[in-house]
């Protein structure tokens, strides 16, 4: 069984895995510009390669796509899809923002929750959706994640969570801040029962989500290049009036400073998470953890 793969930087074009060949597609084929290497990458190449550019850049992907990349086909049982935001404070423009977010993301809320198998390992799973108001956390997101940990506690199962977020959803005021405490308390109970929570931080994970459940995993993985921080880089530049160095708040920076366990490439994420789940299933001398 392979060890967890740390980010391996390709040193030449051969190591990129035939980049020239891959990039010479049909001329009429739609492409997407890579924000890292600034090359046009054929969509067909991205689809076949988990939306990772030959240069190693991990494109942001939708929650559903990530779900397909991570769970065993047909094993996902979605939960609490009907828990959605309410504009309790009558906050200016919030209703409209919600309507747009639902339309753009095609999701009812900013997190997808459910039960699934990953390489045969049963777990509860949440995946945040950045197309929905940059996956900000309001009451509905907090409630769905809290319930997920409560179900997992009840069933004695681990939780795997993929985070992406701009932070607390300010349109819900102070109640959105309280979701940080609510989710943390549920994670604490789940943890006290000896159950595993594996957090996977993806680009970008910031604000109140970083300051709560993203950083509360027993195991914390991150995708290469993911921006992970409490304050956003723009806020820091404004506060300190200093330019930030290259690579600041990227996954590699957090690894170096000791805040994530490992950086895992998207193509190896499923097998790595499965391996971690498996190791935790066989605690206590090979007996299944009940």
């Amino acid at each position: 069984m392979a060890f967890i793969q740390f980010k391996h930087k390709p040193k030449n074009e051969l190591e990129y895995g035939g980049r020239q060949a891959a990039l010479q597609g049909d001329e009429n084929e739609p492409t997407e510009m890579c924000p890292n290497c600034h090359k046009e990458v054929p969509i067909s190449y991205l689809s076949a390669n988990a939306h990772v550019c030959p240069c190693g850049y991990h494109f942001r992907i939708s929650g559903r796509r990530r779900l397909r990349l991570v769970v065993d086909g047909g094993s996902f049982e979605e939960l609490d899809q009907n828990v959605v935001a309410r504009d309790a404070l009558k906050f200016p423009g919030y209703e409209k923002k919600l309507a747009v977010a639902r339309d753009v993301s095609d999701e009812p809320e900013a997190v997808i929750c459910g039960k699934a198998f990953i390489d045969g390992n049963e777990c509860y799973l949440f995946i945040m959706e950045s197309a929905f108001m940059m996956a900000s956390m309001g009451s509905a997101v907090g409630e769905k994640i809290t319930r997920l940990f409560e179900y997992a506690l009840r069933d004695g199962l681990p939780v795997v969570g993929f985070t992406v977020s701009g932070g607390a959803r300010m349109q819900e005021g102070i109640i959105s801040l309280m979701q940080m405490a609510k989710t943390s308390a549920a994670i604490r109970r789940h943890s006290d029962a000896g159950l595993l929570y594996c957090a996977v931080l993806t680009d970008p994970t910031t604000g109140g989500v970083t300051a709560s459940f993203a950083m509360e995993g027993d195991v914390i993985l991150a995708e290469p290049g993911a921006l992970i921080g409490f304050a956003g880089p723009r806020v820091i530049e404004q506060t300190t009036r200093k330019r930030l160095p290259k690579g600041f708040q990227r996954a590699e920076f957090l690894l170096e400073h000791g805040f994530v366990d490992a950086i895992v490439e998207r193509s190896k994420m499923r097998s790595t998470v499965a391996q971690i789940l498996e190791i935790h299933t066989n605690a206590r001398g090979g007996e299944a953890h009940e």
Binding site: E143, A168, L177, Q179, G258, F259
Partner: protein, 263 residues
Amino acid sequence: MNNVTAYDRVKAARANTRPLGSDYITGILSNFIEMHGDRAYSDDAAIVAGIGLMGRRPVTVIAIEKGRNAKERTQRNFGAPHPEGYRKALRLMKQAEKFNRPVICFVDTSGAFCGFGAEERGQGSAIAQNLFEMSGLRVPIITILVGEGGSGGALGLAVADRVWMLENAIYSVISPEGCASILWKDASRANQAAQSLKLTAQDALHLGVIERILPEHCLGKPSFFAAVRAEIENELLQLDQLSVEELLQQRYERFRKMGTYDE
């Protein structure tokens, strides 16, 4: 009173004439001994913490301190804690748990500091650890927001059994200026943002985020501190009645019920 706008409260909460975190410590406790440092990196002067007596009862007290004059404010980073401040607070909470004494927190911060060092040393992780640990801490926790309750930086000391606010304190997920500049690209509309954010003590009480509003009658005078102390002492007597399991269960439910969503 009813003509006071939300932004008036914001200004009042920020006024440098208000008592500081350390004033509450000296006003309420006797025999206070300050404890420094997070035992890992450094001592964050934005958080003053230690042990003392409230009457005959030993307590651990943690206060965010903005500083009294220009020099002190710089030294205390204007009450914006770094990760080591939250870690010092957590260290003292665990110490309180070991010696079975309650924890009293006084919160007054515009927010956890946003800077290079704070990120490098894991501001998000430090606050997250506090939320996680405080939700299971086996001794009573009372938190009083005495001025600004700025977002995660305030919540990092506010996962408590009772959360109270002073009449003119505020508790908000984002500063009204920050909110206005995101929403309308115009920080000068903070007034309007303050209204929308529902950040006053009255709002927090209505929303079920706090249990009590403490009046600011004679603010900063000995009689004021005596009144605050009496409130805390009475509440601790109530909390003494609970078993650890009941205490933790009630703390869980306190936060569990927060949230408005459709289903």
